[in-house]
């Protein structure tokens, strides 16, 4: 998408528009009957790193149990690089930071990414099916398509940022896992 000046122009426009879509996603965060939109600001803990991060077009692959991947484009609006080292989510017992890699048998597998995700100052880092992503492990609460899932990212300096991602039915992202023995993401069975 970024190979020519023309598409670069389009991409930057999409990012702006995407931010608006992000605002929409957040406005939709509220549960049914609760009209108040969720806060979009970063919850700054120990340091300041995470405060520079925004996420565009976040979403998760709906799952009743097992593993559930989360995606989106992380943008660092600050002057210093940010490194995400861990994540958590209320609907899962843990969250891993994954990358795709070729194993000894020559197959593409996903595995925990050592050192976490680096988001350069003024740059972006894409989390997408087939690439780096967050993996919610051992989902404890079934997440249906259209549900909203909150995920907390923790930066190297201990600062955190929350985002809320809508769940979608998605058939892709079925990469084999080279980490612990977890079951693949099941397709949601009912509405």
């Amino acid at each position: 998408m970024n190979s020519t000046p023309r598409t670069t122009g389009r991409t930057s426009r999409l990012l702006v528009a995407g931010t608006l879509g992000f605002a929409l996603a957040f406005a939709l965060t509220a549960c049914a009957g609760d009209p108040s939109p969720a806060a979009t600001t970063a919850a700054v803990a120990a340091g300041q790193q995470a405060a520079a991060l925004t996420i565009t077009d976040p979403w998760v692959k709906a799952a009743d149990s097992g593993m559930m991947a989360a995606f989106g484009t992380l943008t660092n609006d600050g002057d210093t690089d940010v490194r995400i080292v861990s994540a958590s989510a209320p609907v899962a017992s843990s969250v891993e930071l994954h990358e795709m890699a070729t194993n000894d048998a020559g197959q593409m597998v996903m595995r925990p990414k050592e050192g976490g995700f680096d988001i350069p100052a003024g740059g972006t880092h894409q989390l997408a099916p087939g690439g780096d992503h967050l993996m919610l492990m051992n989902v404890t609460t079934a997440v249906k398509p259209g549900d909203l899932v909150t995920v907390t990212l923790t930066a190297e300096d201990g600062s955190t940022v929350d985002f809320t991602a809508p769940a979608r039915s998605f058939s892709g992202g079925n990469e084999a896992y080279a980490g612990s023995s977890a079951t693949p993401t099941p397709t949601p069975a009912a509405s």
């Binding site: 929409l24 979403w59 398509p145 259209g146 509405s191």
Partner: protein, 405 residues
């Protein structure tokens, strides 16, 4: 992208954003004039049709008062057993978000073919609610009286394959690629909530083949839709502007699939065809006038005393003395593969929008059921009704005032 290209693109998109509703027809006219004007006028960009954008957010859903694009897919869906109001809230969040993206030339959120979203071609997606949705959502008290299957008519030969539905997506655009992508994305995102009941695909002339604003022709060769309601002029007959919040800015939709017997129609000469309609085939003018939009004079008789517009001509029977008994017609042609042994399988997707089906649509339908020369060659084989909820603003989802009551 050169600055010149950027400028033109920005102009087109800015124009589309600034205008709304029927005013967009002006944009189409501008594009046409620019493409056909003297060399002094800068030509429209070669992809102007593909890059044209219709705003999504607003008091009303697009796809009713906006100019009809060349192609449409009507997708009726049924809710799966157990889908309740909570499920509908989640489905409408998903659809609203994806429709807002796709219509503005952006890929859906989990779009697996994002490149197919980059030519919106005036894409609009209109969501309708069938009677069954209100039952599933335990909102029977909110179902308008007119939202019920049409009563049976003697001319009907309805098939289940083209009738009913809990939900409707009317997906229109000036490009079939755009429609196929939107249909696929919206249907697969809904797969845990719904099953597809039927799909009806329709078409008119492609962009650039006729002047914008030209009344469409059907496959019987007739100018079809001359005396139509005009959005912006007859809004009181099209839209709800009061009543329940979810219906404010909304309307009702009737979808009738009308099969045409083109083989027997072929046996009729031009004068017979014009008598059946009451209009000329050449330009759609009434047999008592000279131009398409001349008011037909139903009283005029010929030299031997017979009415010039036949007593059972379609346009006489389709008229009512009550000016409120009118509706907005937004029809499309269909031409599907014929059954073995048949030459064709053609007809009309007769799509209408009106404030109230009972007081506007049904009186006319009853008149045509009783008597209409065209009934000899046309047969309704599908029928469905939907409520079209009002539009939404950014941060809201379609149907929110209904589903979150």
């Amino acid at each position: 992208m050169t600055s010149d290209q950027l400028g033109r693109r920005a102009f087109l998109q800015g124009g589309a954003a600034a205008l709304s509703g029927a005013a967009l027809a002006v944009g189409g006219r501008v594009a046409w004039d620019a493409a056909t004007a003297s060399p002094a006028t800068p030509p429209a960009p070669s992809d102007a049709v593909g890059q044209s954008v219709i705003p999504f957010y607003g008091e009303r859903q697009a796809g009713v008062g906006t100019p009809p694009p060349a192609f449409v897919s009507l997708v009726a869906l049924d809710l799966v057993p157990g889908a309740d109001r909570g499920a509908l809230v989640r489905l409408m969040r998903i659809w609203t978000d994806d429709i807002a993206r796709l219509t503005q030339a952006r890929p859906g959120l989990a779009d697996t073919e994002p490149e197919l979203a980059l030519a919106p071609a005036s894409l609009t997606v209109t969501v309708g609610y069938g009677p069954g949705l209100f039952t599933a959502a335990n909102l029977e008290r909110e179902r308008p009286d007119w939202l019920t299957p049409l009563p049976p008519f003697s001319i009907d030969r309805l098939e289940d394959a083209w009738s009913g539905g809990d939900l409707l997506l009317q997906i229109g655009a000036d490009d079939e690629m755009t429609i196929a992508h939107a249909v696929r994305l919206l249907v697969k995102e809904a797969r845990t909530f719904t099953t597809v009941r039927w799909v009806q695909r329709g078409f008119r002339h492609s962009p650039g083949t006729t002047k914008p604003g030209t009344t469409m022709r059907n496959l019987m060769g007739q100018v079809d839709g001359t005396r139509n309601l005009v959005p912006g002029e007859h809004d009181g007959l099209i839209w709800h502007d009061d009543g329940p919040a979810w219906l404010t800015g909304g309307t009702s939709m009737v979808v009738r699939r009308i099969a045409m017997d083109l083989d027997t129609w072929d046996a009729l000469d031009r004068s017979g065809r014009e008598i059946a309609m009451g209009r000329r085939l050449s330009d759609g003018s009434p047999l008592t006038g000279t131009r398409e939009h001349d008011e037909p004079d139903l009283e005029v008789v010929n030299e031997i005393g017979f009415p010039v517009i036949d007593t059972v001509a379609h346009i006489r029977r389709a008229r009512s003395g009550n000016p409120d008994e009118r509706f907005l017609r937004r029809p499309y042609n269909y031409d599907d593969p014929p059954a073995p042994g048949h030459l064709s399988n053609s007809g009309l997707l007769f799509v209408t929008f009106q404030r109230d089906i009972t007081t506007q649509f049904l009186p006319i339908q009853r008149r045509l059921d009783q008597l209409d020369l065209l009934n000899k060659w046309t047969t309704p084989i599908g029928s469905a009704v939907f409520a079209v909820p009002g539009g939404c603003q950014e941060g809201e989802f379609l149907g929110q005032p209904l589903l979150q009551t």
